[in-house]
Subunit: 323 residues, 2 copies
């Protein structure tokens, strides 16, 4: 079974469940970017991010008995919400381990989707150890945020849609710029495009100070970030590329891109003004690269991968950078 | 030629030009509303509102000679942008007459789409008289915002999509709640649904103090508003229902709904939080009715008809009502 088989099987399980999100663009945004920018608006996905795809894919792939015992996930919030809603829709119990400093809207929504939320300290506690302990104690299946073949397969359905939508829009040559944390979305998209649209090369984007993927791609081995927190882009602050995802990234992706928090906020506000979508800072880094980096081609497709942003952060940015 | 013929002909001219906007929903929004709410996100349309449909429909329906002389439109901003972009894409000169108090983003965008913008005072000047004079002097064709059969036909394509998307989503019975100014969108949708989904009754929504359509539907004749300005819902402040639109509204719509400016702002913020779309106050009145009014059924489809909101108004509302 190839990676593409897994992605296509996930697409079948997800059909009718997952929203085929639109590929948006705007003439005035293109003028600012100096290139044509197409935005895959996964912030419009159920639960507000692409993570619902991976969550649904993983929960739906479980044996019935395991699903009945329940699932556990750890996440700064988007994976949490995706798994929580997918679990509820499958009637499966769900425990979510979240950092105590996650945006309050993400914690609140995860609870609203019916999950039991357990908070931990991102700086002093090891989420993997806590997750393993809880999983063992209750017989829960751990659904990792990116190092899980079914999660990657679910995120890969974004890539299948990008391939279709690029063809529909007549986009022959382009780079696909992704928001990259542990690499689940990026590797899933890269695997789908390798099969369906190999002329679309993937470029992972990260926030300054958390560019483990860019450095890993440059060095050829998995590098780690010096810090675990300290960027507004909470959704994509992972310590290093995944064990499963990195070999894919290394084989298929072009060089990584890096943007500042301020660039992510500016991109968030330009998406507000010109695309009328709500993107969170971590979900805006790919758009920021498309708007503000030189080393990209004339046509780019980027993921707006999530839209769960605290009201205060969004309002401040709109006041500061809005016209 | 029936109204449906005009709408279907417009749909053919618009194919590949206009975005088929998604029908969005969110479990957490349904919980707040106490009913299932589906949102036709026309704020994601090119130029940020459904008005691009009517603009494209009208410009594309003109004889080539008239199109070469150019078009003129008057609008608080969304019709302006829709006509301006459609005209530019047809290579037609375009003059836009806008109230001087229109949101600055709408004025800026209209200029950015290449139109010549002429400002007037909404309280002391008669936009129709100014428009007629300019049109006569330059041989421009006036494209009215709602009292124009081709504009109504263009907006009616929203109704065709709602009929299709309701069927796809398995929505058998529902009311379709619209944001209503002069009635172009509402009458277009009502005509399309009469033919394609007659079980979906249309309910126009207006802001308090500007409920000319609701009062006209109640009295059976065209009523006027006492004031011309004074609501945040600038997009839908029209003096009275149109001559062409009112007979359609009277024949096909259920009773009008009315919401306060604060309810519109709250709906705008809930759309930000739960749907991750940017809706302007006037484009949020239908959602506000779905969230806050009792006299609607268990399933409703509403238009989020525009997303061109000034940054300050949006940021203030998110600060005030966001969680």
């Amino acid at each position: 079974m190839t990676s593409l088989d897994l992605i296509e099987a996930a697409a079948l399980r997800l059909a009718g469940r997952v929203r085929r999100t639109p590929l948006l663009n705007a003439p005035l945004l293109d003028e600012i970017a100096g290139r044509r920018v197409f935005v895959k608006a996964e912030c419009l996905q159920w639960t507000g991010s692409f993570k619902y795809r991976g969550g649904w894919s993983a929960v739906s792939a479980l044996p019935e008995e395991a699903r009945a015992r329940g699932v556990i996930a750890y996440s700064s919030g988007n994976h949490a919400q995706g798994v929580a809603l997918a679990a509820r829709q499958h009637g499966a119990p769900c425990v979510i381990l979240m950092p105590a400093d996650a945006p309050s809207v993400k914690i609140a929504n995860t609870k609203a989707y019916g999950a039991e939320v357990v908070l931990y300290d991102r700086l002093t506690e090891d989420r993997d150890a806590i997750g393993d302990r809880l999983a063992a104690a209750r017989g829960l299946t751990l659904i990792k945020p990116y190092d899980d073949a079914q999660v990657i397969a679910g995120q890969g359905t974004v890539g299948l849609e990008i391939a279709e939508q690029a063809a529909e829009a007549g986009i022959a040559a382009a780079e696909v710029v992704t928001c990259c944390g542990g690499g689940g979305l990026t590797s899933g998209i890269a695997l789908a495009l390798e099969a369906k649209a190999p002329h679309l090369r993937v470029r992972p984007t990260e926030p300054e100070g958390f560019d483990d993927v860019a450095r890993s791609l440059a060095s050829g081995q998995r590098e780690r970030n010096a810090r675990a927190a300290g960027s507004l882009c909470d959704a994509i602050l992972t310590p290093s590329p995944g064990e499963l995802t990195f070999p894919v990234l290394k084989r298929l992706c072009g060089p990584g891109l890096v943007v500042s928090d301020e660039e992510a906020l500016r991109a968030m506000v330009l998406a507000f003004t010109h695309l009328r979508i709500v993107v969170e800072p971590g979900g805006a880094v790919a758009l920021a690269a498309c708007l503000f980096r030189k080393d990209l081609p004339e046509r780019v497709i980027c993921t707006a991968s999530g839209g769960n942003v605290d009201a205060g952060i969004f309002a401040d940015a709109v006041q500061r950078f809005g016209s």
